[in-house]
């Protein structure tokens, strides 16, 4: 190792310079504060950044949500009480978005709910099957694991463009369908199809991540259990339902909640793939927030912030569920180890 991070000569010199520039002030601070309290100095950059770009924004979020107008500066915004929330929730019939004052918000809410349920359910299922397959004694496991994981690393824009190219009217999918005797379709220009493809594409892009977590869970199951089952001539199905599934349940629950938290925030791929369309068929809550705050001629920051807080409430519920689930699974795991 040639220096911090094993870097070469030139970056090494740059790092040396950075070290000496900062050494004198840090030495002075150390003399001023004493040894344990210098810890705060080491923490400071992180805390300042988090304070400015995470905690302060939460406070401003509340301020925006209860003030109106299109001004960006908090001081210039008139207090309106809960009006923004009232506007968002004003509906004659909450089940029918077209009767709502902010009909797009409700369409986005229903789309997001439908997306989350469909995408998470199918993705967890596919991830489970893939993890089970990858956990078998197979040739080239590392390669196959990489194959399923690779799309996770692609940027959402790239993912969307790859599929846009495949799904376009004169794209390869329609060509293959016609060659097979079927008929193509305008996949991204018909509401139902666009929604289905958004689900498919997001499963394609993200399932590798969850597969990896489930695979780690599978590999943590002690192999003695399977050996014992084999002695007893237990059928493969029985081995799966009596050993694999119960012991994998904690990982499955964590994966489900994690996937739900992400699904509720779906935005990037869809925004590039369909732009929320056709109409509002693939409009989701985050895109509604983005459009309300940044893409309209009158920027309604208050409405957008109120919608953010509604989203935050949903995410808070999911996060608490996650904490509960992971605490229980941690207890379960340690209990299992003791036994």
């Amino acid at each position: 190792m040639r220096g911090p991070g094993g870097v070469g000569a030139w970056p090494g010199a740059a790092l040396g310079l950075a070290f000496s520039v900062l050494e004198a002030p840090m030495r002075a601070l150390q003399r001023l504060l004493g040894v344990p309290r210098i810890g705060w100095v080491f923490l400071a950059p992180n805390l300042v950044v988090l304070g400015l770009f995470t905690f302060l924004p939460i406070a401003i979020d509340f301020h925006y949500a209860f003030t109106g107008g299109a001004q960006l500066l908090p001081a210039e915004r008139p207090y309106v009480g809960a009006e923004n929330f009232a506007t968002l929730f004003e509906c004659t019939n909450h089940l029918d978005p077209s009767t709502c004052r902010k009909d797009l918000f409700w369409r986005a809410v229903y789309n997001t709910a439908a997306f989350a349920v469909l995408q998470v359910a199918s993705m967890v299922l596919f991830s489970l099957v893939t993890a089970l397959v990858l956990n078998r004694r197979i040739v080239g496991r590392g390669f196959f694991r990489g194959v399923f994981f690779y799309p996770v690393l692609l940027s959402p824009v790239v993912v969307a463009l790859i599929w846009k190219w495949i799904l376009q009217r004169e794209g390869v999918l329609n060509a293959l369908l016609q060659a097979a005797g079927g008929t193509g379709a305008e996949w991204l220009n018909t509401g139902g199809w666009a929604f289905s493809w958004v689900v498919v594409v997001s499963i394609w892009a993200h399932m590798g991540f969850y597969t990896l977590i489930l695979l780690a869970g599978l590999q943590a199951i002690p192999s003695e259990l399977y050996e014992a089952a084999e002695m007893d001539h237990a059928s493969p199905w029985r081995r799966f339902s009596r050993i694999t599934l119960p012991l994998l349940m904690p990982s499955l629950l964590i994966v489900t909640v994690l996937a739900l938290i992400r699904a509720v925030q779906v935005f990037d791929e869809v925004f590039v793939l369909t732009g929320g369309g056709p109409g509002s068929a693939t409009l989701f809550v985050v895109q509604f927030i983005y459009q309300t705050a940044f893409a309209e001629s009158i920027r309604l920051y208050g409405i957008a912030a109120a919608a953010s807080l509604v989203l935050a409430a949903a995410l808070l519920v999911l996060t608490l569920a996650q904490l509960r689930v992971s605490r229980r699974s941690a207890e379960g795991a340690s209990g299992g180890r003791d036994a």
Partner: protein
């Protein structure tokens, strides 16, 4: 090939290739096609000319019309297979075309043109790798600038991320001061605040700090990551305190201990965080979309997004740009797959 055969039929140790093994390999084969196929199709398509991309149904490999250069002409002329009035079929180059009449010539004898109805000819195709898609995006679209913006943000943000997070992790793992636990909790709590819900107020903060339309507007909010602090802290806890105590005996300053001892020893964890940080920043989309609105400040991702809205007909450039954008991530993944998957499996971060 007995060895290959035993390799392929290796099963769960019972020496028998049962239906579950068939299912396994069928599933994996299908997986390769479904997961890699779309990317391979993108790459193949990116080497096609605009004309080849307009063909329907598309061909698998990039074919283009053959062309030859003829004496006295600047541009190469497209080649057609022509059915002449006497019934013979010859490959001829097109000199010019007016309406349905084309003037064709045998490339070997350029002084002997023939007039042909365009119904009596069809283009001659050959394998043609359109590398010009790649070379031209640099000249025509300021691609180099977007590439530079992305590289700048990724590299600088990663360096600062490593430094800030390592400093915080050092403080949290090697010092006992009042409020240490609280500070750690505060940092971890930000894991539960998804960036999507603070999008609007963050825009205000960035605009107040004068960070709009600047790469620093993307860099600063990203450099404090709870996952990074957590990852590094767990690793630094394994570094023996005796090393640090020994250095203190030698009157090394705390900063020197951090820089010369703890940082080099944390290299493996720093490497994992560096990989993640590079991926995160390179692929960032929503926040840059909000902060960067001037075209010249766009990252590659934003430029791609803007182009796909504008030049729907210019797929040959768009595809080449997309390939250029996924290339670095693919190379990093191919080289470091083991570390990435191990890092994710252990930390559960993405």
């Amino acid at each position: 090939m007995p060895s290959l055969r035993t390799l392929l039929t290796a099963t769960r140790g019972r020496g028998r290739f049962d239906w579950t093994d068939w299912f396994t390999y069928a599933y994996l084969a299908l997986g390769v096609v479904l997961m890699f196929g779309p990317v391979v199709w993108l790459v193949l398509s990116s080497f096609k000319t605009a004309a080849a991309l307009n063909e329907f149904p598309p061909r698998l490999l990039p074919y283009g019309q053959k062309s030859v250069s003829i004496a006295d002409r600047a541009d190469p002329a497209p080649v057609f297979r022509v059915r002449l009035p006497d019934g013979t079929v010859r490959e001829m180059a097109e000199l010019r075309r007016i309406g349905i009449q084309a003037t064709m010539v045998d490339p070997a004898r350029p002084d002997d043109p023939v007039r042909v109805n365009i119904r009596d000819r069809e283009p001659v195709r050959e394998l043609h790798v359109a590398t010009e898609n790649y070379t031209r995006i640099f000249g025509q679209f300021d691609f180099a600038r977007f590439l530079w913006n992305s590289v700048f943000i990724t590299v600088i943000a990663t360096i600062i991320t490593l430094l800030f997070n390592a400093m915080a992790a050092f403080a949290l793992s090697k010092y006992r001061f009042r409020g240490r636990k609280a500070a750690f909790l505060v940092i971890l709590a930000t894991l539960m605040i998804p960036p999507t819900i603070i999008l609007v107020p963050n825009f205000l903060v960035a605009s107040t700090l004068g960070l709009l339309n600047s790469p620093w507007g993307v860099i600063w909010p990203a450099v404090a990551t709870p996952t990074g602090v957590f990852l590094l802290r767990q690793y630094m806890l394994t570094i023996p305190d005796e090393l640090i105590d020994a250095a203190r005996m030698d009157h090394a300053s705390e900063w020197r201990i951090f820089w010369r001892i703890v940082l080099p020893l944390s290299a493996p964890a720093l490497a994992v965080l560096a990989i993640f940080s590079v991926m995160w920043r390179w692929n960032d989309f929503l926040w840059p979309l909000v902060v960067l609105s001037k075209t010249e400040t766009f990252t590659l991702q934003l430029a791609l997004n803007a182009f796909q809205g504008e030049l729907t007909t210019q797929w040959h450039y768009l595809l080449a740009m997309t390939v250029m954008t996924l290339l670095p991530v693919t190379v990093v993944f191919a080289l470091l797959q083991r570390y990435i998957t191990a890092g994710i499996a252990s930390a559960g971060v993405k």
